[in-house]
Amino acid sequence: MTARSPFHLVVASATDPGVVRRFNEDSIATDSDLGLLVLADGMGGYKAGDVASSIATGLVTDYLKRMLNDMAPSPIQSAKLSRESMAVKLAIEKTNLAIYKTAQTDSKYNGMGTTIVLVLFHHGLATIAHVGDSRLYRLRQGQLELLTHDHSLLQDQMEQGLISSDEAKLSHNRNLVSRALGVETTIQVDVCEHNVQANDIYLLCSDGLNDMVDDADIELALSELRGNLPLAASQLVQMANDNGGHDNVSVLITQVSNGEIMKRSFIQKFFGWLKSLG
């Protein structure tokens, strides 16, 4: 159980440079006390993308830790973003500015940037925030659902009806992100809140996964391997690489379970074990 959430989280992750690239510019971070998972996909310059993404995951975690620790858990008011969600938004905005300043002050970091996607569990809610084309999927009762919207030229074109999804497969714009951290002094962050149910599985990934593996196959791997999350994570990375592995691929998976039930079953197991000794 986390400090602010009645749910217990099991977390697994895997990251790989892929088959083609030499460097891995993806970064991931988790803080189980906060109930926070972060993933970033960096870009630009010789190894600068790696710098941008690791600043992003590290700083956002630090900022949020400080902000949330200063904030007493307060009840949720409907029709308004929770204080936790506002803190998430602010933390990403501050992180954006920090990466921007680093990029400006050192010429070898000029032009670097990074995507970010994160989820924070609190009050039975999941606050989901993202910038760029890294994604968050939720598996609920066997159904995979994408809860983020890529900030990419291709997605923007589709939303405006300029391009059909059949045409999109012929487009060469899938690698153009329309928003990224570190590029300008301000950033527009998409933040939303979703109710959490026990047994939900949340998957954060870089585009190296969803560019190479169909949603249907992601759903298959997550639901079939839910009993072994580390295997699910490495299986997803392996599927991306088996399909060509053109990009860095990172996955961060968490399964939510009801904290109380977990505790009880542990106690039952413990007493069962004691009995077995007697």
Binding site: H149, N175, D211
Partner: protein
């Protein structure tokens, strides 16, 4: 930079670079490519540059536009496409526009701002109602392999011998929470892997531990209630 090679009756009549956001082909003299001939419309076709894409549009011409033999109204150009209009062939050459994955590094796009609306606080329902983008490309859809299709024969049930083909990347067998194994399909063959349960699966009577095990034809896989024989489907 992308290039257009214009020819007429097998003779090349001009080379052009696609160096403008809006590139116009037609009979008018001030067009970017001016083509003679009564059947060419004044403004016949337009090529728009959108990000990395060059999008060809028929500008409501009288005689139409084809790409590689098929009539189009709008088409995202691919390397070596041949555009045909009123007796002219225009070849599109752009090494970066290969349909078979051009995985350039992810780039930040600064100049293109398609949306002008100022967005207020992101709405909770901001995600609903928008079309979702399926990004996995066609070439990424199937496991890239010539390895023959395989499957397992159920040796346990009463109707023993039931054959289960495994055409997707993986399939699990067993009972969740008790004992589960995975058979996965990879470019180099089929593997069996332990997923959960107290004991590791056995192949031909030997425990395989926690690592993936490459299956050979007629291998016998056993785990708790699961008993399967691996086979390779002979192609007809």
């Amino acid at each position: 930079m992308a290039k257009l090679i214009v020819s007429c009756e097998d003779a090349i009549v001009g080379h052009y670079f696609l160096d403008k956001a809006r590139f116009v082909i037609g009979r008018k003299h001030d067009n970017d490519i001016a083509l003679e001939g009564a059947s060419v419309s004044n403004i016949h076709a337009i090529i728009l540059t959108i990000g990395n894409d060059h999008v060809l549009e028929d500008a409501e011409s009288t005689n139409g536009v084809s790409v590689n033999g098929a009539k189009i109204t709008r088409h995202i150009l691919q390397n070596n496409d041949v555009i045909e209009l009123s007796g002219y062939q225009v070849k599109y050459v752009n090494q970066r526009a290969m349909s078979d994955m051009d995985f350039d590094k992810t780039m930040i796009m600064k100049s293109v701002h398609l949306d002008s609306e100022t967005e207020a606080l992101p709405r909770k329902d901001a995600m609903s109602g928008k079309p979702q983008l399926a990004t996995a490309t066609l070439s990424a859809r199937s496991v890239k392999t010539n390895f023959p299709l395989g499957g397992v024969k159920d040796m346990k049930t009463t109707q023993a011998g039931e054959e289960i083909l495994i055409s997707r990347p993986l399939k699990t067998f067993g009972q969740a929470g008790v004992q589960v194994i995975m058979v996965s399909r990879r470019p180099q063959g089929y593997y069996v892997t332990h997923v959960e349960g107290k004991r590791h699966p056995r192949v031909n009577g030997k425990s395989i531990g926690s690592q993936p095990f490459l299956l050979r034809e007629n291998d016998l896989i056993e785990a708790e209630d699961v008993k399967l024989k691996f086979f390779i489907k002979q192609s007809d």
